[in-house]
Chain length 450, copies 2
């Protein structure tokens, strides 16, 4: 008998992070980092299950769970082989359901739901292969990688043949890069020094600590008050000296012209990039900002809805860094499309991480990109936030500011069952202790489809 | 005592329209037209309630209901006055919840949820005033209209002062246009002639019937097979003769270059517009298509996520018609932003309708646009699909191809209680009779928040 998917469990997991202002920025003053979590159960005698999640910041995590649950009928009852051996087809099946598509298309809650389920299937595929996900992907042929990508709406920027060319060009030297990255790890930068809710002395102490830990790329949150931003950048730069790179992240708070004015004001601090200066949908404004503030480069992508948004940002020369996200834009498959587009346009991929489990996921994608697609470490850094990793079965290991290559089978996406139970909202013990619950009293949601 | 919101009821209402292939197009072969429906209850002695909905096409309507339900805490317990007397503030409150915002931002399920709730509040506001919504809006001062708009991310294209200028320029002649539109009605076009699932003879008969009913704008679905499209356009044009306008709608099926090639092939049929040629997110591709196929004009907007997408389409000269939707992009408030942008750029607004109740809603917006913003009927036509109107308390009245101005108080958004009960999914009697249920077995969801 073929191994089949037998269950589709969802969980509303939330961490009360807003109490410490960790993760605070100009747009998100009090996030409760959350995971709309899914487990794909199988009748595999080895007990393999696929774990995935969408990341949210609190209220609405129940809506995200409902979005994921709507995809259960595409999983339960199917054989594991028909899904895991044709992940391009599986992605297309979820993305192009003609009725569900109306809820996006390919954006927002349903796009993140697709990402969660696709990534869970990838976790299972890697466990079946006994490999970390990055290695499973890095061992695929150029043709097999191209088959993972949905080229709809991409043909004006990237054809399957061009994608094949990129992959074949790098195929002969993959082993060399794999050996190197196993030895050195992937370079990380830290965002933990400069959350917007931190006071000046906390920033100063955190910057010192980050430098002592070996980080030479440090990011600050900006965008609420320009004079505050200037003062905070001055503190960071005075601690850092001239060498290390300083990035700032405005989290979408500016309009086009206020972004240009603010970035010019902050230019004295020698910025490596300016992140999310304005609306993530605004390709034209990003292009105008990038043109106006050059040589400072614009970075964005954590809220880019899909590969079509990334395509346009690249076509318009609007970004100098493509910040892929593992769970926003359709999961592994859509992210590979973006990595191929970025390679075509010569733009480095610097993934977004932090949140809940985003570091765990995106390390696999960054390493795969380096081995098979981007093939370069110049100007590549992967975000690191030292937060909530203890809830994961196979947490990231960052040493001397480098992600150490994950070696366990899977996508590092599995959370401890105890953490899921403790932080299930609103019934878990961690939430019963909270005196001031969040505004919206949503209900926990755990279904086992049959 | 102030009148307060006392309840927030949601309903998963679905109509099994896929059985007749009504509504079928190249992207949506078998829609089950559905409404994620919300009723805002109050303790008003007059019994006023606000009705609103998001339109979906079947599977996932339960996800949309969950998105709407997540907004209940922003309504229940508030006074009706604090919401209805500051609808700009209410829209901002729903749109900028810092945690819910992560699920978009301003796109997909949560954006449509905001639209449903905002529109329900507008329905209530109009009922309190004893006016149809279009009249409530058309009687507002230019300053009050500008206060409804969220100008975030718009300042590079439209400032509040520019919006005021547009509104003041037309303020003195509003009464004249109101008198005129009450007499003539608003011009309609029909989509009912050319659903993709119809065979040639059905198209021919429907086109004849539409012409006999007085329609001089007729739209066909295209995009699945170009030779089929040519044949169907030839049938329609041969029935129509040279005078009436023919539009085609590809429902996002083409990539940039295939769109250009297909539109050039169809140009011989003298197209008034080509609708949704490619991804609704692809501003740059729309601009390239518009440039390549001129003087044929591109129309899009029913899937434009928000005012930022419309802004870019206008800035890039990518559209010749702005197809606002009443429930996709943030409801009345965000749509007013788009109508002001369209007026600034001199592009006619031709709303998307059809679906469930979209005709009922958008007639109010088109009439308001004509009276206060666009102030012109040239090249303005409002979509009409003669479908499902019998489920509404105050259905549209289209006579001789013109929407007759609605006169009842409210937004014409209320569905008959009997229809809601009959078509609630999956428990309603209309669904219990269906032999082949849709793929996803979602659960009905009706909550009364307290």
């Amino acid at each position: 008998m073929s191994v089949r998917f037998t269950g589709f469990e969802t969980y509303d997991v939330r961490f009360p992070t807003s109490r410490e202002r960790d993760g605070s920025d100009a747009m998100n003053p009090d996030p409760d980092y959350s995971a709309a979590y899914v487990i794909l159960r199988t009748d595999d005698p080895a007990g393999h299950a696929g774990h995935g999640f969408a990341f949210t910041i609190g209220r609405g995590n129940d809506v995200q769970v409902a979005g994921i649950a709507a995809l259960a009928p595409y999983v339960v009852g199917r054989t594991v082989a028909e899904v895991c051996d044709d992940m391009g087809g599986f992605f297309g099946l979820l993305t192009h359901d003609s009725q569900l598509r109306w809820l996006g298309p390919e954006k927002g809650v349903m796009q993140m739901a697709v990402a969660a389920v696709v990534n869970a299937a990838w976790d299972l595929a890697a466990k079946r292969a006994g490999l970390p996900l990055w290695k499973l992907l890095a061992d695929l042929s150029p043709e097999a990688i191209v088959a993972l990508v949905d080229f709809r709406y991409l043909s004006d920027a990237l054809t399957p043949d061009e994608a094949l060319d990129i992959l074949r060009r790098n195929a002969g030297t993959r082993a060399q890069r794999e050996t190197e990255i196993r030895a050195t790890g992937f370079p990380a930068y830290t965002t933990s020094a400069g959350w917007l809710g931190y006071d000046d002395e906390k920033i100063r102490a955190r910057v010192r600590s980050a430098l002592a830990d070996g980080f030479d790329h440090i990011k600050l949150k900006v965008g609420k008050d320009l004079e505050d931003d200037v003062r905070r950048c001055r503190i960071a730069r005075s601690e850092m000296g001239a060498g290390p790179k300083l990035m700032v992240d405005a989290n979408q708070t500016w309009d086009r012209d206020s972004a240009i004015a603010a970035i010019r004001r902050l230019a004295e601090f020698d910025l490596f990039w300016v992140e999310e200066p304005t609306s993530p949908d605004d390709v034209l404004a990003h292009a105008a900002i990038a043109h106006a503030v050059a040589p400072i480069k614009v970075a964005t992508g954590e809220h880019a809805a899909n590969r079509v948004t990334f395509k346009q940002l690249l076509q318009a020369r609007a970004i100098g860094f493509a910040q892929i996200d593992a769970v926003r834009s359709g999961g592994v498959n859509d992210t590979i499309a973006t990595m191929l587009l970025a390679a075509k346009f010569g733009v480095p991929v610097c993934p977004h991480a932090g949140g809940v489990g985003l570091c765990e996921l995106v390390q696999h994608l960054a390493i795969f990109d380096y081995i098979a697609i981007g093939a370069n470490l110049e100007n590549r850094v992967l975000e690191f936030v030292d937060h909530l990793h203890e809830h994961f079965v196979d947490p990231v290991r960052v040493e001397r500011a480098h992600y150490q290559v994950p070696l366990g089978p899977g996508f590092s996406s599995a959370m401890h069952a105890e953490s899921i139970a403790a932080y299930t909202f609103p019934g878990g013990p961690a939430w019963r202790e909270v005196s001031s619950p969040p505004l919206v009293g949503a209900t926990a949601h755990a279904t086992a489809a049959s």
